[in-house]
Amino acid sequence: MKTRLKRTLLTAALLTSAMPTAFAQECADADRVPITWSTIAGFYTDAMANLVSGFEAKNCVKVNVVNIDNSQLYNKQVIEMVGETGAYDVVTLETSEKAEYAENGFILPMTDYFKDKKEQLDDVAPTLAALTTQYKGDVWGLPYYTYTAGYIYRADLFDDPTEQEAFKAKYGYDLAVPTTWAQHRDIAEFFTRKKGENLKGQPLEKDFYGVGLMAGPFPEIQDEMSGVLWSQGGDWLTDDGKVPVDAVEKAMNDYLELMKFAPPAALTVTYDGVMNQMKDGQIAQTYSFFLDQWPNAVQTEQTVPGAKMGVAEAPEKKAYIGGFLLAVSAASAHPKEAMDFVAYIGGHDAQMEFAKAGGTSTLMSVLSDPQFATEESRPKTGHFTTLLKIFDSMQGFRSNLFLTPFGAKIYNTMQIPLQSAAAGQINAREAAEQLAATVEKICGGPCPIGK
């Protein structure tokens, strides 16, 4: 009996120790099913490489990662989808692109795949899931990364007694994290100062600006404006599929009002430029800004003496919301393996690793994990609590921009009139009217809204 037990234990031990080798032998490189994932270059590329390795260790699959510059990702992917080349098995989509890909049959629905994985699907922040994964009753993939916007600011300026006193004297209310866009504007005006003036009682060595804006020739200008437009009860498209000119004009005018308090470079930069301004001690706050940039923003505490960063919900509790959706190409030669990959990257274990590397997860279980709420974790995950609040505040929110099959084309075009206005070439009304005309041209009339 003893000998048999010994033998059994020994066999078990051998089996356990030999398992990885056995798996490796079972799955020689030549046997691995190749799948290709097209994704955004520079977005935690190293972390993604580790996650991919984790997937490959558990599956007899070889994942080729194709890193593509963000500005080229949409067109490169669409060309492959239209040609049904199968070059990419897993694609990465911006929220506004989902409806186009789904409607045109570029990606496969994953509703059936997730039938017995309901728990995993339910773990995606519900507000995010509704906007990023669902379209016309089907599930189209999993978001693995959220760029949902909020408010990032220099908390040390807000906490300074001299500044608090001066602010109250000028505006008649306490300097605090703004809860309305009017307060946000006041704060932007208040902190805009010339070289030589005092900030926190110290003379400034260079000009200081009240707000950092992403008004460069990139789509981020509309991301910034989205939160404001939505908080004013508007949307980029009405239910009739038209641009509400008056609402866009108002949001644009508010934006133009803020341009007065932004660095001149606002007209050429996007999010990385704003972060450089923050880390260079040039700006006091952001507008409606991507919270995934928190690990970048918090570095200001090292680069600017005495700086302390803060993060909060955007004023009026509305901000641009969304995430990068992983979906499976309809032309994929290995859709099963591709779906397994999507489920893995969007799954709990991979998302935990992603969060530890500084990525902004889309899962409630990860965002609310206590280990990410500690002081040690703050430089990487200090924005998670705020994200949870935003998802809660924006529960049930929908935008028609994400529900029209022309969303991607509109998204890729709308920056032009908005930036023209930001640069002073045209006024807010003209920008809104140009946008309306452009959108009508893109959709060939009122845009269809797929609900």
């Binding site: 060309i79 186009e100 660095p263 007209l267 050429t268 075009t413 930036q419 023209s420 640069a423």
Partner: protein, 311 residues
């Protein structure tokens, strides 16, 4: 056998027996024609076909024939004409500056007694790198916050413009970049032309006591004209095709202030995937280029054919 006598023999190609010179000549150009047919003519014919159809790539690809609808749309499109105007402004600005500066630099180098070789080598550098790469450097040089250009302007207490963000000057910032990159090309070609000029007419003019201005007007520029004209045509064609500098420096912005025809074509074709509309614009573009090239190249072609007949 002398060397001079052996060279023509080595270069002579034997015509296969039984084949006429005419057919042999045709045989020689067949490979080149095949390449042109596959890579230029076939796509052109395809683009022409697409321009008469409805073709939204994301909505089912090639659609029905729509006659001249796309041509009417392009002609009525304010954005198309705005991009054409941007292209004209850029081309005029860049080509004039490049020609003037290039020729001036060529004369300076031609008159230099030392360091010609080093200067020529240095001048090749901007040409040796693609605009996509140098454009990135220039974007940082132009940066209002961290750029070197504004840093030095600040040291001199001069205004620090928003080079790429100010819509009144953004296009000229692209022009400056192009001038930096391509003036050396003009200078090098002009310099080669200057160095190839025969000495005798200039020596005769010197003996006759002709002024420098007269020598330039009656001898140098007329003799240099074919070379300069060729450079002018090449630079004009290249400027009209402006894309990479815009893509890297401004992405057509602010708004559409720097959106050239090719950038608008790219945006229509590869962002909106309206291949019908993009193909129609490409046909217009090609037509304009062909007409312009024919007019521009006519004097050169006439000169070449005259020389050939004289030879």
């Amino acid at each position: 056998m002398s060397l001079s006598a052996s060279i023509p023999q080595r270069n002579q190609i034997a015509v296969p027996s039984g084949m006429s010179d005419r057919w042999f000549a045709i045989l020689l150009i067949v490979p080149a024609m095949a390449v042109i047919l596959v890579f230029a003519l076939a796509p052109l014919i395809y683009a022409l076909d697409v321009s008469f159809r409805y073709a939204d790539l994301t909505l089912g690809g090639m659609g029905e024939y729509v006659g001249l609808d796309n041509y009417r749309s392009v002609l009525a499109d304010a954005a198309f004409w705005a991009s054409a105007w941007v292209t004209v402004k850029f081309t005029l600005g860049a080509v004039i500056l490049e020609m003037v500066l290039g020729i001036a630099i060529a004369f300076l180098i031609h008159g230099a007694t030392k360091g010609k070789g080093i200067i020529r080598s240095l001048m090749v550098l901007p040409l040796a790198t693609s605009a996509a790469v140098t454009g990135l450097f220039w974007r940082y040089l132009y940066d209002t916050q961290f750029g070197l250009i504004n840093y030095f302007l600040g040291l001199l207490h001069l205004p620090e413009p928003n080079w790429l963000g100010d819509y009144t000057i953004a296009l000229w910032s692209v022009v400056i970049f192009d001038v930096w990159q391509w003036t050396p090309f003009v200078a090098l070609i002009a310099l080669a032309g200057l160095q190839a000029l025969p000495r005798e007419p200039f020596e005769a003019a010197e003996l006759d006591g002709a002024s420098t201005f007269r020598v330039l007007r009656t001898l140098t520029f007329p003799m240099l004209a074919p070379v300069l004209f060729l450079v002018l045509v090449l630079r004009t064609i290249d400027c009209v095709r402006l894309y990479d500098a815009v893509a890297v420096l401004t992405r057509g912005g602010p708004g559409t202030v720097t959106e050239s025809m090719t950038f608008y074509l790219y945006r229509t074709g590869l962002k909106l995937f309206r291949m019908d509309y993009a193909s129609t614009m490409a046909i217009f573009f090609l037509y304009a280029m062909l007409v312009a090239s024919l007019f521009a190249l006519r004097p050169l072609l006439t000169q070449f054919s005259t020389r050939a007949s004289e030879g």
